[in-house]
Amino acid sequence: MKKEELNSQLKILIPNLEKFAYAMVPEESVALDLISDAYSVFLVKNADSIIKDEIEDLNSKELSFYRKKLSHHIMKEIYQLALKKGSMLKSEVNKVREFKSFYELDLRSRAFLILSHTFGYKDQALKSFFDCEAHDLIEYKHNATCGLLKDYQDTREVNV
């Protein structure tokens, strides 16, 4: 694959990559760093196979599938890197005022919510993203949803 073609595919993925990185850390410059670092890691790991990929002959459906795959792997690297930088990112998370209940969740729950709700990931893709089994997903879903709605459930109980 030529660099120009890879660049044009990446351009389409940018909004989703930013959305995901911003879900990991709510500070623009840190989120952008996270994307660059994760993309470097992804490319170092996969440069050989990416060069061999011949996307020139793909039709629009195949190209869309290719982009999904690319986005999946880059977001996975963003997530892995965010986990490693955990304590460094925490200070940014503590400053946040909007979407407080979301940012109070751990990284895994945040990743789970944005993947399943914003990007419409199904179980198979989630299992591949988190390298886990189906029963783990049930736990992740429960933790993420209950954590996010914690304040709302409390309020409802008080109102009743």
Partner: protein
């Protein structure tokens, strides 16, 4: 059709297979209890979606990211350089053999 929670969840999220959708809808038609569950789940879904940040990428940010990624591609993907060197090596090999 036996309606399960998996069906309800898939229906609320709009991912119930099309062939099951009409069967599901007719199965719940006369069941106010399930309809109530569906309404509650729909409300919950709206609430969850409203609590997840939906960051919109500005033109400026998109340009910054695009430039960064292109720079990384230039640094890491050395396809052209390798193939050019290969070509030179091949020419030299051929030349040596011919002599």
């Amino acid at each position: 059709m036996n309606v399960t929670y998996a069906h309800i969840n898939a229906y609320v999220r709009g991912v119930l297979p099309r062939e099951l959708e009409s069967k599901f809808e007719s199965a719940i038609q006369d069941d106010p209890k399930i309809q109530e569950i569906i309404e509650r789940k729909k409300d919950e879904l709206v609430l969850i979606n409203s609590l997840i940040p939906a960051r919109k990428t500005t033109k400026r940010t998109a340009t910054i990211i695009q430039n960064d990624l292109e720079l990384i591609n230039d640094e890491i993907l050395t396809e052209e350089k390798t193939s050019f060197l290969d070509k030179v090596a091949k020419v030299l090999d051929t030349t040596v053999l011919e002599f």
